[in-house]
């Protein structure tokens, strides 16, 4: 191989790469009809009005683009383009003006319009509640019977459609749960609202003095506020997680038997197909290498931190990253039989093995609903027995139902979770599910994965200061031509601009070995010591530290040692978790030695190497011994363990499956996110308990009053609103002491965008 040959190959690779990219855009786009297609891009670095203009102008100017529209809040761009011909070079144009972008899967994003539905219901409930309340106030102030009846009729007319429209969210869920023989919070809510409305309608028809239309609709209004905020917060977190770059291949460039190339989506790739895989792409399916030499990064799949070399005949697992050279591979399994699919099956198995968690609100309502309903029935029987007046007994029994309708109880949990989710969001932690917060507060053991979780899966130069700066500068200049993680680490370690010597005529990459640069008449090599150095010069290799040598005509100029970089805040995080009384363990798929080193530095027990199935089994066995586990992991091999654990967290750099399976995703680099999340979860648990006590206390006072028949619509309205407000105010206490901490937060802020835009096989 001559010096020039690889550069020709490189040009080829670039065209292939571009081709694959534009095919990928086509694959991910949505057909709008009339020859238009829509593509959504996630651009994490959009941050101001200037960005909007710059991006829209650049994209609008591209041929074929009909309209480009930036969404600043979601940090996304929606582009509509004419479907004739190839897709416009969207990603390249954006990267030219300095924005790293990746495709956003709007297609798989099943349009969740729950939030819109809730907001509409909330608006209608607000309108109805305010108007009915106005009419009710005049009734309470002592309107004449004729006016009162008129106002009752008007309230009924407003309340009927409003209760039907806003109430169906609760009625539907209550009916579902009753059909399965269970109760949830929506059952007492629905019963209370329906009885209040029915009784009021009956009273209106009979010109009675008391109607509870305002109570019924205000109750719905308050509960909808809580539910809407809850959904909005979770949606925001989900969108943020979805906006992260995809780390699995969407498809692959297939070499057909007749020599033509075609880009096929992942699920159409079958065993035996020949795939052209460029450097920087992820392996789409399990396969065998036919031709080519490269380094493979397995960290996301198996947890091994050191890249493996691959040559003809090597077997590759789906999801690994091809680092340095183009490979021709032949698929050995379809996507549905690949490693990833196997992980998903194991996740399902782990899911079914895990005991189902009942949310606090559901457990509370399971105790609460029967008590309230029995009390109402007993009141009815008691009044009939005491007075014989069935009508009056019925009214009082329904008043009991209305006053105990769990408004405060229904808000007690969601309001705390909304405030908690918001706080976590500000700290860069995305909470995807409110139940996870409750589970997180219960954990007693925290299990960490190593590669990618405790470490960044990114090598870093050791002892950079003792290395000759000139040698480092030269190494960085050569390394800047490669995408290999070691090369990037060298470039990063070299402070100041990389200046390439003018006499450097060519740089070529030998996958699996290193880089070779011709400077004038001398040949410099940067790479494996055995390859770069002439015989007998190989330095003492340190186990589990990658060693790289820079040589001039075979003579050693410098050696560089690299280790996997530790995430910031690891020691502090482990210490903080210990303060909470949590046991910490490391569970890794990497080789024993590096794991032991790290674990003993942290002073925690470790298990390695562990297969994905054993990880899940290990978690299950800890759970079986009665300790609840928080699993923190990022790799594909951690996914089953994430599901098996009581609660789970994943960093933003995790494999897609893991990110989707985890309850919480943290976007910042620092591992301190883990103790922060535990703190918030524990505070939230305390406030939820307080709220439940307040709500039950309110009922303990209100119920005797109602049973004795002293409740009027006015008392019901005041008591219910007051209890709800107290609960909401208590939930807001979670923000106490928060403002002082904000300064610290902003220092470590928003690493996510820069860090993770780099992925997606640039």
């Amino acid at each position: 191989m001559t010096c020039c040959a690889p550069s020709v190959e490189f040009a080829d690779v670039m065209t292939d790469r571009r081709r694959a990219k534009s095919d990928e855009i086509l694959l991910a786009s949505r057909d709008l009809g009339e020859g238009l297609r829509q593509t959504d891009l996630s651009v994490p670095t959009i941050h101001c009005g200037g960005c909007i203009q710059k991006i829209e102008k650049t994209l609008d100017a591209l041929p074929g683009v009909e309209q480009a529209r930036v969404n600043l809040s979601a940090k996304r761009v929606t582009i509509r383009w004419r479907a004739d011909g190839t897709p416009p070079p969207l990603l390249e144009s954006l990267s030219r003006i300095g924005y790293e972008a990746h495709l956003y899967d709007a297609v798989t994003d099943s349009k969740d319009d729950t939030v819109a539905k809730l907001v509409r219901a909330l608006a209608v409930a607000g309108f109805a509640a305010s108007n009915i309340m106005l009419l009710s106030v005049s009734i309470w102030s002592g309107a004449e019977p004729a006016t009162r009846d008129l106002f009752h009729w008007m309230s009924a007319l407003i309340a009927l459609p409003a209760v039907a429209y806003c109430g169906r969210i609760f009625f539907g869920s209550a009916w579902q749960s009753l059909r399965h023989g269970q109760t949830n919070m929506d059952v007492p809510i629905s019963i209370g609202v329906l009885f209040a409305f029915g009784l009021s309608l009956y009273e209106t028809l009979n010109r009675g003095p008391h109607a509870y239309f305002d109570a019924a609709i205000t109750l719905l209004f308050f509960l909808l506020i809580g539910r809407t905020l809850d959904h909005m917060m979770r949606e925001k977190a989900r969108v943020a997680v979805k906006g992260l770059a995809r780390l699995t291949a969407r498809g692959a460039l297939i070499l057909q038997p007749d020599g033509t190339q075609i880009y096929l989506p992942l699920d159409e790739i079958g065993p035996g197909m020949t795939i052209l895989l460029t450097a920087g792409e992820r392996v789409p399916v399990d396969c065998r290498v036919l031709k080519g030499q490269s380094d493979i990064d397995c960290s996301l799949v198996s947890g091994e931190s050191i890249p493996q070399t691959a040559g003809a005949g090597s077997l590759l697992q789906a999801g690994t990253l091809n680092l340095t050279g183009p490979l021709t591979i032949v698929a050995t399994a379809a996507a549905k039989d690949s490693f990833l699919a196997e992980m998903i099956r194991m996740m399902e198995a782990a899911e079914s093995g895990r005991s189902t968690y009942r949310r606090i609100a559901d457990r509370a309502s399971r105790l609460y609903a029967p008590v309230v309903h029995v009390a109402a029935v007993a009141t009815f029987i008691g009044w009939v027995a005491a007075t014989g007046d069935v009508h009056r007994a019925l009214i009082i029994a329904i008043a009991v139902l209305i006053i105990t309708c769990p408004c405060a109880l229904g808000l007690a949990v969601p309001m705390v979770q909304v405030v908690a989710a918001r706080r976590l969001f500000e700290q860069g932690i995305m909470l995807k599910d409110g139940g996870a917060l409750e589970r997180l507060a219960e954990v007693e053991t925290v299990v960490f994965d190593k590669t990618g979780t405790l470490t960044l899966g990114e090598p870093r130069l050791v002892d950079g200061s003792v290395i000759d700066p000139d040698a480092l500068g030269l190494a960085a200049a050569i390394a800047s031509h490669s995408q290999h993680p070691y090369s990037r680490a060298l470039v990063a370690a070299h402070r100041g601009p990389v200046c390439t010597p003018n006499s450097m005529t060519s740089v070529s990459e030998y996958p699996g070995s290193g880089l070779e640069a011709c400077i004038g008449a001398t040949v410099h090599r940067l790479g494996r010591p055995e390859w770069a150095l002439a015989d007998g010069e190989a330095p003492q290799s340190v186990p589990d530290m990658a060693t790289i040598a820079l040589s001039k005509n075979g003579r050693c100029l410098a050696t560089f040692r690299l280790v996997d970089r530790l995430r910031s805040g690891v020691h502090e995080a482990v210490a903080a978790l210990a303060v909470y009384g949590l046991a910490v363990e490391v569970l890794s798929g990497d080789r024993e030695q590096p794991v032991r080193q790290l674990a003993s530095a942290l002073g925690v027990p470790h298990h390695s190497p562990v297969s994905p199935a054993d990880k899940a089994n290990h978690i299950a066995s800890i759970e079986a011994s009665g300790r609840k586990v928080l699993m923190v992991g990022d790799g594909l091999n951690d996914a089953p363990a994430l599901v098996a654990a009581h609660a789970s967290m994943a960093p933003a750099s995790a494999a897609d499956v893991g990110r989707n399976a985890a309850d919480l995703v943290f976007l910042r680099e620092s591992l301190l996110s883990v103790p922060q999340a535990v703190t918030v979860a524990r505070n939230a648990r305390r406030l939820v308990r307080e709220n439940l006590i307040i709500a039950v206390g309110y009922n303990a006072v209100a119920m005797p009053v109602a049973i004795l028949g002293y409740v009027t619509p006015l008392i019901a309205a005041v008591a219910m609103s007051l209890s709800s407000l107290i609960v909401v105010a208590n939930a807001l206490r979670l923000n106490d002491g928060h403002r002082n901490r904000r300064k610290d937060d902003s220092r470590t802020s928003n690493l996510s965008s820069r860090q993770f835009a780099l992925e997606d096989g640039q």
Binding site: L36, G49, I52, E56, D60, Q67, R69, T147, M154
Partner: protein, 69 residues
């Protein structure tokens, strides 16, 4: 007292108008990008939002665009 009853339907109509306006603004995607809307007020260009699933009337759009370029 009864002389002021005409105020009640008036209040209801005004309230309903407000509700309708809110529902319309929700449907036309005005809450999709609140931060973006705050920034766009500073730009001179007249732009239209992309509403999901619906095609903005494309003829004035393309005319606008060719004028811009």
């Amino acid at each position: 007292m009864t002389d002021f009853f005409y105020l009640i339907p008036l209040a209801l109509v005004l309230g309903a108008a407000g509700l309708a306006a809110f529902l319309w603004s929700l449907k036309s995607g005005q809450y999709e990008d609140l931060e973006g809307a705050a920034e766009r007020i500073l730009s001179n260009e007249d732009d239209k939002p992309i509403v999901n699933g619906r095609q903005p009337n494309s003829s004035p759009e393309t005319g606008d665009k060719s004028a811009k370029n």
